[in-house]
Amino acid sequence: MPMSDREIIIRSLERVERRIRANRLFCELSFGLSLFLAIPVALKLWDLVSPFTARGISFLIAIWLVAFAAYAGRRMVRKGRLADAATSIDKQAGLYDEFKTAYWFIDNPRSSEWVDAVIRRAAADAQRLDLDRLYPKVFPRTSYIAAVMILAFVALNFVPLPWNHNWLNLEAAPALILTEREQSLLDQAKDLMAQAELMQQSDLAQQVEQIMKQLQEGKISPSQALQQLQNIRNMLEEGNLDMGSINDGLEEIAKDLQQSEDLKEAGQAMLEKQLWQAAEEMRKLAEQMGLNTPDDMRQIQDSLQQASENSRPGLEQLAKDLKDAAEDLRSQDREGAQQSLENAAKELESLAQKMAGQNLKNQASQRLQSLEESLRQRQQKGRDGQQQDFDDEAQRDAQEGEELEDQDGPGRSTSATGKAQQGQPAQQPGQPGTAEQANNDGSGQMPSGNPNAPMNIHGAPTKLDVQLEQETLTGMHEQGTKPEAIEEASKQERSKLDYRNVRSELSPAQKDLLNQDRIPWEYRPLIKQYFQAIRPASKQEK
């Protein structure tokens, strides 16, 4: 069915309006996009200098998207009028308001031959006109700018710099970057805990790893991480043995056992805290039970009886086993005595394992505490907005971490060895150590492989990382070296390192309390005078 003149004109105008709108939209959107793309490019450049976290990027990109969507939406909603399209087509085709007039009369019908003729002529022109040629698809210059901006953004993401994060691969800087020292502490704590867990079937190491991962990804805040690490430490310290009491008890038991010739070696081993060896000696005694003379048996019985009376918290079972063995010997129940001695040997082994595990846990707890301390300091600095200081600190920490790693290296190697033993205690008394273990400088990471070395149950000794610098005194060359000058030079030696890494046994809360110093120095006398002035008269007299 052929279209009427009015329909032809309206169709043409609608088509022109769509094309004008599309071209306008393309122009405006490409212009807007080129402007808007400057923002992510600038952000990406900024990211190369100061990396954004995933949360930061998500936030900025979300704002960018919302703003651009609002801009684009606003532009797209704007629809042109057919009258405007008519004006445009008149200008483009040089029709001197023919379409404008025709459209107006279509919109405002009038019975007139002349009006009909105007519409008819406009319809004929509409069919004759090549609208695609009159309104070609326009590629504005701004679209090239937008393309360049996109290329720049993509290229920036692929800049081969170690600190560059490719946003296109959904990479971002972690919310928190651990310094090398912190990473070292974390690794050590994890290793120690993993060893302890092998003995006690727990998954604290995994929990710590999870916490740090979440912290680095920004899923939890530093204060939440600190709280969770504190909980882990509390869990590590739960059920700790009273090591002092146990050591004292073992010492007394050992002395009592040494009164018998047959138990002397077992006692000596216990005295040296070589509990695995002591257990072996117990077993040997049980095996040789039939070969002993009645006098020896009596002596053994007395020693066992005397030793069993040294019951202390943590040694109850050992005392009971020793007592059972003494009673079995008294009742000449040799098999019972052998069984009781076997039980005592097992108890000793269990005790050795518990003590080794606790030692590992203590060390892990100390590492965690150091890690917490470091994170807390950074959190505090972050609040103060001292980002520059933070970077410097990280750099210093990295240096210190390297030094710490050098010092802890042998201990960590031992840990690795212990880990490889799959469930076995890292070290057993009396067993020969590996070459690395033999080289252990006794910094206390693990029990030494040396059977004669005492078990360090209090952890590694605290060391001050002090590096002294020699200063030259004036006049030394002229006057020669005198004892006074040497003494003076010694006094003027200065440390090049600060003392922040000195380990403290104090809890953070205690440190905070001790370090509170909010009163300026110059005001202290005034405050003191004030409080003295307001003291009651009776106290003032005193």
Partner: protein
Amino acid sequence: MSTAIDRQVETFQEQFKRAKEEVSKIIVGYEEIIDGVLMSLLANGHVLLEGVPGLGKTKLVSTMSDVMHLRFSRIQFTPDLMPADITGTNVVQENAMGEKFLEFQHGPIFSNIVLADEVNRATPKTQSALLEAMEEKSVTVGKQTYRLDSPFFVLATQNPLEMEGTYPLPEAQLDRFFMKLKVGYPTVESLHTILNRTTKVQEPAVGRVLEQSEILEMRKTVRAVPIARPVQDYAIRITLATHPKAPYAYPLTMKYVRYGSSPRGAQALVIGGKIRALLSSRLHVSCEDVRSVALGALRHRILLNFEGEAERVDTDTIIREILEKTPEAS
């Protein structure tokens, strides 16, 4: 497919062209002036021609009357010219019985084309007699009103230089002219043509190519041309922009104009635009048509203020600014 309207338009163009060609045989170099005069005639308006003496204004008008099959009369305006000299008067007559009676003697205004030469030299009273006839298309003498023949077309001329002893037309009367056309000096090429034609033994002769009925039919055709509201709106905004207090006023208007155009100016724009549209083979008026007649239609309708007069501002400058700055409606 040729329709009746198309044929009507073709006829209009053909008649207009024929008349113009005939006039152009005598009048050289004044295409726009000839167009303006013919347009005013077809618009049922009158023309004020302004130019220095000797440029062929009178010749143009006489040639126009020769070309059209119309009655022509010429009135030379002088200071002692009386209204009755234009309109005519009652004279005492005696019949065969010897009885005396008053009989109206028609003045020169009772023609189809009237040339009012140097119209600003007559007194205002006399000017008013002419201008009233122009507007009312009738003349009242005593108690009797006499209708003027249609078409009634006045072509007035005035000299802008010799103002001594003249009576410039008041603004209200200027407004009654459909167009004011400025007759400028011809170009060298045109002068050559003029000299070639007028200094030989045989001067070119013109024939009558347009009948009275044809002119009236052409007038009807002009009125039939439709104009869309946006184009009409454009004409109105141009007219309003000549008023210094109007919201459409532009800087020059606000600075130099005391009063702007009356609605007659808008009428002139639209009717002139319609004629232009027909001459361009269009069935509708465009903004371009309105613009093309704006100078002639508005220049005599804008009254300058003291500052404008002092600075000798040309109203054409003001109109050009208006045309340049007034946007077309869509």
